[in-house]
Amino acid sequence: MASSCLRQVAASPAGFKTLVLSSTSSKPCRGAAHVKVQLACSFRGSALRLAVNASQKSNKHTRAIVAAEAVAETAEVEAEVVVSADEAPIVEVEQPEAPLRTGKSRKTKGLKNIMETLHKRAIEAATEGKNIPDIRTGDIVQLRVEVPENKKRVSLLRGICIGRQNAGIHTTFRIRRVIAGVGVEMVFPLYSPNIKEIKVIDKRKVRRAKLFYLRDKIARLSSC
């Protein structure tokens, strides 16, 4: 990392350039630290002078900040800097490779966070007025749902949650209940504006994430 930073500086046109390199090491070492940096610069009449600032000590690791300046030039400069800080890591930079990047991340680089941000914002906007409890599989829930066609408010629905699918703003949960001898399953988006109220009435101990086995069981287990 250090040398790669310096390499970039060397590639740019001549002149005085200040570089800041930072290296972190998780192994705190005592004594002087040697930062060996090998450069191939093509400046004229400027050589690299490395000045090392005092290192900071954080909780787990120490950091050494190396500031480099191009002063006078030689064909190949090899600089050895001795850090005279109290506790500084011994870092030997051997021109590490740049981290491998797959093609997939490259395509949406710079745009990745958009989806996360949009989902977060949408969820925040949807949960503003309401209090949406944490619904888990096995909870007996009671909903107040508004049907837009009828404009009526009521529509009280009840049932056991047999599954939950997490998908940001379109997180859905399934309610199962036996109504008049018929098993009925309903799927609701958790953040739908049509759901006016959700109440968790009871919890049942379940050992599964999805309770689809209730469809084959007797009606008593799905009625609540």
């Binding site: 997939k104 395509k107 949406t108 710079g110 745009l111 958009i114 989806m115 941000t117 949009l118 989902h119 949408a122 949807a126 508004e146 837009p148 940001g168 703003i169 379109h170 988006p189 953040y191 739908s192 504006p193 049509n194």
Partner: protein
């Protein structure tokens, strides 16, 4: 002798070509052009370049080139498909939407006019890349308008290009509003070599009752007459991976902070795909007459 004829005919043509209408110009140019060309061929001694008057003709007419790019209904931009999500309307409807993000780009790189190129269009660059990714001619073209290295260049042919200058940055909130209809085009997902059922929606044969043809094409033509298969017969082949345009998608939101455009429905390709977004061309409303 032949040389004299050529020069005289082209000189007398020049005043007319600058003032006459395109149709007349076309006719007069074609007729004298052919004469002068024959004259050129006849004389072996004539090795001169084209006369000056010929060079000042419209580029499209000079070479007999026809411009086949179709007009856009308005200025458009290029974008990147980011993903899809759900949008809850005020009514409570959940509609599927596509999020279109914009990388650094959408800079006008060239404005083509009737005089210079024979048609009016605005060329836009998109997606900044490193210098090393572009060739020197490409870099030179971009530096002429002072733009950063951009990978994609696309033209939008318009009826009039007033108000566009090289180096101008286009912003989505000026071009698109909520409720607008847009056409989005991009490369669709490639499906590889596919058969008639998937590619052309053919119906398959019976799976039982002794049938020997389940997913085959069936008949591909008539008998002795015509005695051949018509070109264009729908057959298995490569499907997808081509430019596809989805028309009349509604713009749900224009977010300037995140630099995104949210449209209703789906667009071609996967996340990261290059898209071309232009105002929808609706018959009877805003298709320019060419």
């Amino acid at each position: 002798m032949a040389a004299a004829i050529v020069s005289v005919s082209s000189i007398c043509l020049s005043p007319s070509s600058s003032t006459s209408s395109p149709a007349q110009e076309m006719q007069s140019v074609v007729s004298t052009r052919s004469l002068s060309f024959q004259g050129l061929r006849a004389s072996k001694a004539l090795q001169k370049p084209l006369p000056v008057a010929v060079l000042f003709q419209k580029p499209s007419l000079r070479k007999g080139v026809t411009i086949s790019m179709s007009y856009e209904a308005g200025m458009g931009v290029m974008g990147t498909k980011v993903g899809m999500m759900t949008y809850f309307t005020d009514v409570g409807e959940a509609i599927p939407v596509t999020v279109i993000g914009f990388r650094e780009g959408n800079v006008v790189t060239q404005v083509k006019t009737d005089l210079t190129d024979g048609y009016n269009s605005v060329q836009i660059g998109y997606r900044r890349v490193r210098d090393r990714k572009l060739t020197k001619p490409e870099l030179g073209h971009l530096s002429k308008c002072g733009a950063v290295p951009l990978r994609h260049l696309q033209e939008f042919r318009l009826t009039s290009v007033d108000g566009f200058e090289p180096g101008q940055k286009l912003s989505i909130d000026e071009l698109f509003k909520e409720g607008d209809l847009v056409d989005v085009s991009g490369n669709s997902i490639g499906k590889g070599f596919q058969g008639g059922i998937k590619r052309w929606n053919f119906r398959r044969g019976p799976m039982t009752h002794g049938s020997k043809s389940h997913r085959q094409l069936g008949s591909i033509g008539a008998g002795t007459t015509p005695g051949r298969v018509y070109p264009g017969k729908k057959m298995p082949g490569r499907m997808g991976g081509t430019k596809t345009k989805i028309r009349k998608l509604e713009v749900i939101k224009v977010d300037t902070e995140l630099r995104t455009l949210i449209v209703k429905g789906a667009v071609p390709g996967k996340a990261g795909n290059l898209l071309r977004i232009a105002p929808a061309k609706i018959v009877g409303k805003n298709i320019p007459k060419s």
